[in-house]
Symmetry: C2
Subunit: 389 residues, 2 copies
């Protein structure tokens, strides 16, 4: 195993959102110099990165030139210019996860084929190039309502996903290459983050259960341990470990599952990076997902994923009727409660449903953590100094 | 209570060593902009501060001009130009802890008088202006060996302290204003960090037990909970809380105690800031000492100081025979062990006995944590690329 020479390592991170910021908070504990590429000079990670570079992750030259400055490159977002990554790799740069994995994950069609070919449970699907093909297939009786359309590329946080219940919804179909999946009757959603280093050492974090906010299709509350029984948790963790192994990737893989009405697990989405569903690990697990990501990226032994205390995580998202300079209401009241750990990402402007921060609540029992989380959700509001909408 | 407007607060920190760095790691979670003043542009905190300012904390103009840039000022070192702080305070700047408290603590003579006048247990003492006065007092029979001489000002980490066992040691006496204390027969040393905000809310962290490294007079290992019995811990925590209350200060106060052969507690030294003996709180306590310091400085409700898991902390200090660019030996082996959390401060050069980092070991039992800590101490060595001495 390559030795960590922390005092002289330059770690490049493509994109400087909250994931990049929390990664840097961990990296600074090992004195790793962090370089961040982001189009926005006020991005969350910019304030604590060793060096900030202005540039878009979509742009070949920005990504390529940035990569030439660093010793190891990683990323906190999927929609990166993949050609720049391949050229950097060809020229000898260590990129973790490998661009091959990212390329597969950037395309939901390739992703689904990979699952099918490797025995990973996923919803039945068909691939289409445009809207017309879908409508024809419905007409010919080879596709029936309800189904879900997902853009093969560029979807994020619920964008690029359409639920199609009947003919009247077909007007809204995306006219781009997409995956059509059978609609699953969902009981709940869970997520598992697995990690793998270049030696093939693999570990998974404990399963978390996600509660969605129906208004914004964003995760509203996350609990760990999940309330779905140990057997289902074990199964989800094995599937995540199996998947990261089959991908042969180094890094983190966040795997989101549906639990259907028959108690089956179905892989819904994956992300090759730290993930919203792992934020609670900062306080509740021996190794946080960010530290684990660093370990995987730097090819160090993976850290323990043992839970210290039950945890609930709530996202702090922009109130629907507020846009503009951010103001946090109820912060002091929430900070007064034992076990409430607030993280503000440092986005200067709030927008409806924008992820502005999160709070993790740790407690001796899940009941206590849930009660406190509900207080935080009632009390802590992300508003603006001016109500604008 | 003043509301925290995290998005727009500039926190100034005088000096940018490891304490400043770890304070910034916490401050970044609340998106607080951090300004650091330090003479060394490669100081540990410089790499993650929002803004670094070059200048010495001893220099009036540097401290004064720095203070004019920020909304709230705190510090991570005691030997600051106090006149600059008083002038800033006079001009309306919030400084936490208040310069009045710092002035008292900068002078071990005033400190000792304060303890005596307020019923805080401390070793019997006399004050002297120079060596001659001490020798005369010994001759006249009013002072007997063994005793300890401590410089009233400028001592740090064991420097400025002399143990005087017999007449042959009197040649080494400092010829400056000093405190002479009766030498205490010590069983062990413990420390308690107390916190207080401007509302007068007070909390203490659990007592820690310190094991000294006889080679360097530095803390070698720290255990929490302390192994001295609950009654003595409670007593130490009450004394620390009583002392911070009597001082009427806002901020953190680290109180180091001797436990003598009769089981008495004796206050040895205090520091009005985060302290080496509180590093374990980052992983083992619900609120870390750095978060607590921020809460006290920003006049927020204090956080819970409940211990999550037993912890042992070991300092990573420069090996005696190494000076020059730092190299960490055994890092990977230690990182492989569950519950070993390594912090490297980012000092580029090592020197014999220099504090270069620390490792906290958390485990379900103290026995397990101690065994792992001993492995870390045997394995993790701070060396240089070139052996120079």
């Amino acid at each position: 195993m390559k030795k960590l020479d922390a005092a002289n390592l330059k770690l490049g991170i493509v994109a400087g959102g909250q994931l990049g910021k929390m990664l840097i908070q961990e990296a600074s504990k090992w004195d790793i110099a962090t370089y961040v590429l982001d189009a926005d000079e006020n991005c969350p990670a910019g304030s604590i990165a060793t060096q900030y570079f202005k540039g878009s992750h979509h742009d070949f030259n920005s990504v390529y030139n940035f990569g030439k400055q660093v010793d190891v490159l990683t990323y906190e977002i999927e929609s990166i210019n993949i050609d720049a990554l391949f050229k950097l790799k060809e020229e000898g740069l260590t990129i973790v996860p490998d661009p091959i994995t990212l390329q597969l994950i950037q395309d939901k069609g390739l992703q689904k084929e990979f699952y099918r070919d490797h025995g990973i449970p996923t919803a039945p699907f068909q691939l289409f190039n445009n809207r017309e093909e879908i409508i024809e297939t419905v007409s010919s009786g080879k596709l029936s309502f309800p189904f879900v359309q997902k853009l093969r590329k560029g979807g994020y946080d619920g964008r690029g996903v359409l639920i199609v219940n009947s003919t009247s919804d077909t007007d809204k179909l995306f006219d781009e290459p997409s995956v059509i999946e059978q609609k699953i009757e969902i009981v709940t959603e869970i997520a598992v983050i697995a990690a793998r280093n270049q030696q093939g050492e693999v570990k998974s974090f404990p399963t978390v259960e996600m509660v969605l906010d129906s208004r914004a299709n964003l995760v509203d509350k996350l609990i760990c341990p999940a309330g779905i029984g140990q057997q289902l948790c074990n199964m989800a963790e094995s599937i995540a470990i199996n998947l990261i192994d089959k991908l042969g990737m180094a890094g983190l893989l966040a795997v989101e599952f549906f639990v259907d009405t028959n108690g089956n697990l179905i892989v819904n989405e994956v992300a090759p990076r730290p993930h919203n569903s792992g934020h609670h690990t900062i306080e509740s697990v021996i190794t946080s997902q960010f530290e684990q990501h660093l370990r995987a990226v730097l090819n160090l032994p993976l850290g323990s994923t043992k839970l210290k205390l039950p945890a609930v995580m709530v996202n702090l998202i922009g109130e629907p009727s507020h846009s503009g300079p951010v103001r946090y209401e109820g912060l002091t009241e929430c900070m007064a409660i034992e076990g409430v750990k607030v993280h503000l990402y440092g986005k200067k402007q709030t927008r409806p449903f924008r992820k502005m921060g999160h709070a993790t609540i740790i407690a001796t029992t899940m009941e206590e953590a849930l009660a406190k989380a509900e207080f935080v959700q009632r009390t802590l509001k992300v508003k603006s100094w001016k109500e604008s909408m």
